[in-house]
């Protein structure tokens, strides 16, 4: 065992990387849930995003196009969910599970010829001068653009929800869809848009795993990240900045256990690999007492009957 092999600066830098996929997926799901919809298909949308992004990057040689395609892929899958729950009025829990099962199958079908390939390298942005700052430089100022996009999305979502009319309407729809309908807001349209946004974010998160974090394609590679993202939204009490904190926490645990594995700690690998999931459960237990901040219409089907 050699704990000195763990470099704290590198650890923090890779923490940010490890946090980004669940951060992206969670911020998307947060918007969906604030609109009153529970989409349990995050895992499915992430993995489809992962393979779509990977395949397009490999075919075009451009990671940017890859991420774009991943967002589109996630959104297309989300559209299926939107059709099921908003048009066909299907149960949201069942539809979300269907989306995950379908996405897992679809991704492995799509990914058959991409196993074992290396994707094109996605360059980090080196912010001049800042990146040379010791310690903070490599952690904060020498990361890739999507990581910054994730942070920007958190800030953007927070600002939109808090300060804009669009955000107010979105919250209103999630809070009481009957009242929103009575005031003339298009509940279904708003929710479909939110679901698509959530899908695009999950797709980006998935592609971040296959293009940056690993980078490689293997079946089922999201390994529950989508579910952790869902837990993160609960953890965050539906507040954007808390999602960021949560994502870093989970990123930290993931990176730490990987580092401990590499350092050859006496704990068996399997038990270290369990830790992110166990921590998720623990966090859920601690934070579940307060449900008051959950959107009041969350998971309920809306049908304008009159």
């Amino acid at each position: 065992m050699d704990l000195s092999a763990i470099n704290p600066v590198l650890l923090l830098a890779s923490l940010m990387v490890a946090a980004t996929p669940i951060l992206l997926a969670a911020i998307g799901e947060l918007v969906v849930e604030r609109a009153g919809v529970l989409n349990l298909g995050v895992e499915g949308m992430m993995i489809v995003g992962a393979i779509t992004g990977f395949a397009i990057s490999v075919e075009t040689g451009s990671p940017w196009l890859g991420f774009l395609a991943a967002a589109a892929g996630g959104a297309v899958l989300a559209l299926l969910f939107a059709l099921l729950t908003q048009v066909a009025l299907a149960n949201q829990v069942a539809s979300g599970l269907a989306l995950t099962l379908f996405g897992l199958g679809l991704s492995s079908l799509m990914g058959q010829s991409y196993v074992g390939i290396k994707p094109p390298h996605f360059a980090e942005i080196d912010i001049p001068l800042f990146s040379d700052i010791p310690v903070l430089g490599p952690i904060l100022f020498a990361q890739d653009p999507i990581l910054y996009l994730g942070l920007a999305l958190v800030a953007g979502t927070w600002a939109v929800l808090k300060y804009t009319r669009a955000g107010l309407i979105l919250r209103a729809v999630g809070e009481n869809h009957d009242a929103a309908h009575a005031l003339g807001y298009k509940v279904v349209r708003i929710r479909v848009l939110a679901i698509l946004f959530g899908g695009a974010c999950a797709g980006l998160g998935g592609a971040y795993i296959s293009l940056v974090r690993v980078p490689q394609w293997t079946e089922g590679m999201t390994a529950g990240a989508g579910w952790i993202a869902l837990a993160l939204v609960v953890f965050a009490s539906w507040k954007p900045w808390r999602v960021l904190i949560g994502a870093w926490l989970f990123g930290g645990i993931t990176v730490l256990q990987l580092n401990l594995q590499a350092a050859g700690v006496a704990i068996p690998v399997e038990y270290l690999a369990m830790s992110p999931y166990l921590v998720t459960i623990l966090v859920l237990v601690i934070l579940s007492a307060d449900k008051s901040s959950a959107p009041a219409s969350l998971g309920r089907t809306f049908h304008a009957s009159t």
Binding site: A88, A98, G105, S108, G224
Partner: protein, 360 residues
């Protein structure tokens, strides 16, 4: 303009017809998918649905139907009770693994002793293993209000890691030349869940599945507890008003579904699979969710749906070896089935009216 109109009460006809329509729609769209993959769609559909039942080698495949169907039905019956009550145990895969580990562990503890009581003891241990694993999310939900969906799912990943750890460590076959995996229970008569009639595929798991179907039917249709389960799912406030205690219901439904999933794991590990290994679980716990919905959460429906799903597994294997159809295509096919089912379910509760719009 198309408008939806809620029916005064759910349509009996559509509730039976929707699964059939969903299967047909899946065949059509699945066929298109296979065509896109460059396979002859008619041939592929025929291979999946016809070959195992009536093809040349059906004598071999038909017993497989029971072997693959039994765990699906067993798990799906348990899940369906919870789903009816609005309790979402989606971690059956983990409970299945834990049932197998604990059950096999008990059996292997007696190795090489031969005794009549070993297998029954393993059955109890298997059920207990699944039960305990399901009681974790149940107790957390009752005690802390934790979301059972997320917790039960997280525990699948934990169980998978435990499985890996067991097959590499504690339960590893000491005579296995260092290969991962436990001793093969098929070669340990006291612990072997053998075919009751040689070559029929009819092992104890099949019997358990049949009993579970009948038990669930009686529970739901004749017993107050079953009535309360349905009531809690349809109108939770009315259920509390009727005197149903939500915590007790959660513990019952989660515990029962966990125990049944654990049993499925035990029968699998002691029978068709034979040993604890890293890739022991093949996703029955998740496919059972599809089975439960496809069977409309009705015990006999689940029985049929389980057999149908088993058919797609077997037919998928045949299509893979004969036509080179990727295994994942079958997974997509199954997912598609659930989609169509949920979509067409609309017709059970709503009427579609085409004409002038009523709602602005």
């Amino acid at each position: 303009m198309i408008a939806l109109e809620k029916r005064p009460q759910p349509s009996q006809v559509w509730s039976v017809a929707t699964p059939v329509i969903a299967v047909l729609a899946t065949m059509v769209f699945g066929g298109i998918l296979f065509a896109v993959l460059g396979k002859n769609p008619v041939e592929a559909i025929r291979t999946i649905f016809w070959e195992p039942l009536f093809g040349e080698h059906s004598f071999y495949y038909r017993p497989q139907l029971l072997v693959k169907g039994a765990p699906l039905v067993l798990i799906a019956i348990g899940l369906s009770l919870g789903f009816r009550a609005g309790i979402w145990n989606i971690g059956a895969e983990g409970q299945y693994i834990m049932g197998a580990i604990v059950g096999a562990g008990v059996g292997l503890a007696f190795y090489p002793m031969e005794a009549w009581f070993i297998f029954p003891l393993m059955v109890i241990a298997g059920a207990l293993g699944g039960w305990v694993w399901a009681m974790i999310p149940a107790v957390l939900k009752v005690r802390f209000g934790t979301n059972e969906i997320l917790v039960s799912l997280m525990l699948v990943y934990v169980a998978e890691q435990l499985l890996a750890s067991m097959s590499l460590g504690l339960l590893k076959n000491p005579e296995g030349y260092g290969f991962p995996g436990s001793r093969n229970l098929q070669q340990y008569p006291s612990a072997h869940n053998a075919d009751l009639i040689e070559g029929s595929g009819m092992h104890w798991g099949v019997v358990a599945a049949m009993i579970a179907v009948i038990f669930a039917y009686v529970l739901l249709n004749r017993h107050m507890r079953g009535f309360h389960i349905r009531l809690a799912g349809e109108a939770p406030r009315a259920a509390r008003f009727a005197g149903v205690s939500p915590p007790r219901l959660i513990l019952f439904c989660m515990g029962l579904s966990g125990a049944l999933a654990g049993l499925a794991g035990l029968f699998e590990v002691s029978g068709p699979s034979g040993q604890i290994s890293i890739d022991f679980n093949v996703g029955y716990g998740f496919t059972a969710i599809i089975v439960a919905f496809l069977g409309r959460l009705h015990p006999f429906g689940i029985l049929l749906a389980g057999l149908l799903m088993a058919l797609t597994y077997i037919g998928g294997d045949i299509a893979q070896s004969q036509m080179g159809l990727p295994a994942a295509a079958i997974q997509v096919f199954q997912g598609m089935l659930l989609f169509f089912l949920l979509a067409f379910d609309l017709l059970t509760n709503y009427r579609i009216r085409i004409g002038k719009a009523g709602v602005a």
